[in-house]
């Protein structure tokens, strides 16, 4: 009989670090069933030279400064950071330190009682491992209708925001959550129109242009916006055909904003340097997918299953994925 099911993919070595036995067991089960049995440790300990892991999953709250340093070195030694931190941190507690010290690029929220977003864990692990990163659809089950809009000039932004307000109002979600959605769309569109476009030499075309000055992209340079919603989350994505955003740019801007120092708000020509910070504040899960020189896609998910208080109590997830051309 010929096998109909190929049982193993290429071996993926996953290291799971969690000192809590119950939580470790739960995580190990999920990873075993979706990727393959991970190695487990209670603490990070030493990462021997060239530690041959495709992915390290660890609870941020269980790591000390030395652990974070070793994880950063591990990330830096690989072309793609392959560390996924789990954390219950929120905008007001936990995240300022994590982002202020630039210690992460992949973060998955656990709520206060350590409840894990299992779907989020699976999607995130697979995106890290498989390098198939694009698409809002990955975060929703099949059957959820997606609506799309195309924009290529700043004069269209107000009309688009009006449509999105209408869409959010049809969903019947609390006004405070609808306001978050509007903030995200506004910042996504402004970023895509003004910060993303580059010329043939890779120079930013409108980054220093006043946001009150209207701009129009070339006819073939279209920004695509998608929205969809299920009972639990409202999703929005925006993609541009430039792929000019870099991991370090995002991390630097977020670090600057979380540090709350004198330079928190940029006073240069162009944007205020607060966009990513405002977006992260308004989202439950912020994903940035980059194919350099080709595409940047930002995905935002807002947990609409409860009130604003429920939204702000839960942790935040944040990922940057970069694939080579």
């Amino acid at each position: 009989m010929s096998p109909i099911l190929q049982l193993s993919e290429a071996t993926r070595r996953v290291l799971l670090i969690d000192a809590d036995p119950k939580r470790q067991k739960h995580l190990r089960q999920i990873i075993t069933r979706v990727i393959g049995a991970p190695e487990t440790r209670e603490t990070l300990g030493a990462l021997e030279g060239g530690a041959p892991y495709n992915l390290i999953v660890a609870h941020y709250e269980g790591l000390d400064a030395g652990d974070l340093q070793r994880l950063q070195e591990f990330s830096a030694a690989h072309s793609e950071p392959k560390v996924l931190l789990l954390s219950a941190g929120t905008m007001r507690a936990g995240l300022p330190n994590m982002f202020g010290t630039k210690s992460l690029t992949n973060l998955l929220a656990t709520s206060g009682d350590d409840e894990l977003d299992v779907d989020g864990l699976i999607v995130t692990c697979q995106k890290i491992l498989r390098r198939d990163i694009f698409g809002l659809e990955k975060y929703f089950v099949w059957g959820v209708p997606t609506r799309t809009a195309r924009i290529n000039k700043s004069a269209e932004k107000d009309a688009l925001l009006a449509q999105m307000q209408e869409y959010a109002s049809q969903l019947g979600i609390p006004q405070r959550l609808a306001n978050l959605f509007e903030t995200v769309v506004d910042e996504f569109v402004t970023n895509a129109l003004y910060n993303s476009p580059v010329d043939a030499d890779g120079k930013y075309r409108y980054a220093s242009t006043s946001r009150t000055q209207r701009i129009e992209l070339e006819p073939d340079e279209v920004i695509n916006l998608k929205v969809c919603c299920d009972a639990r989350r409202l999703g929005v994505s925006i993609s541009d055909p430039f792929g000019s955003l870099t991991r370090s740019t995002i991390i630097e801007y977020l670090a600057k904003c979380f540090r709350r120092g004198d330079g928190q708000v940029d006073n240069k020509a162009g944007g205020a340097g607060l966009g990513f910070y405002q977006i992260l504040d308004a989202l439950s899960h912020f994903v940035i997918n980059i194919k350099p020189g080709s595409t940047t896609e930002m995905i935002g998910l807002i947990d609409i299953s409860g009130t604003y208080k429920d939204f702000v109590t839960k942790g935040k997830s944040f990922n940057i994925f970069v694939v080579d051309g």
Binding site: R260, V265, G271, Q278
Partner: protein, 156 residues
């Protein structure tokens, strides 16, 4: 749609009173206030719905210009959107005194959302979780934010 910013200015015996409403964005202008060169200014911010990232900078520049003119500034009736920025942006209030803010409530029974005024002069240490009756169904509403950090800007 971005609702453009409306500014209504009124000269009162206590100084200049300016009522702001709408969204604060890259298109917002504060000339109606700045041209008065007020020495004592009260900003009524109840009507501010949303502030985007470039709007934050316009606002900071507005605050800086007022300070250079020597104005003493009070914020009254700050909307929930303003409180959000007070907590996120270190110098959003600059040297202004925040006298009163709105606190958000939601009814678990009928989903009515309502903001209730919290006046720090009358009540310097407000209890945000004190019972508030729903104007629609009379059930007790819930404070719709984190009570321990909603007023964090007062400690910063």
């Amino acid at each position: 749609m971005a609702n453009s910013l409306n500014v209504k200015v009124e000269k009162r015996p206590s100084g200049l009173w300016a009522e702001l409403s709408g969204d604060i964005t890259e298109d917002s202008e504060f000339n109606a206030i700045l041209s008065e060169k007020p020495l004592l200014l009260t900003l009524d911010l109840a009507g501010i719905k949303r502030i985007n990232s470039t709007g934050v900078r316009e606002w900071i520049n507005f605050m800086t210009a007022l300070r250079k003119d020597g104005a003493r500034i009070n914020f009254e009736r700050c909307s929930v959107a303003i409180v959000q920025q007070l907590n996120m942006i270190a110098n959003f209030a600059d040297r202004a005194e925040v006298h009163s803010v709105f606190a958000p409530y939601i009814c678990p029974s009928c989903d009515t959302e309502e903001a209730k005024l919290v006046d720090f002069k009358a009540n310097p240490t407000p209890d945000l979780e004190a019972p508030v009756a729903c104007p629609n169904c009379k059930e007790t509403m819930e404070f719709d934010d984190l009570p321990e950090s909603y007023l964090a800007f007062r400690q910063q």
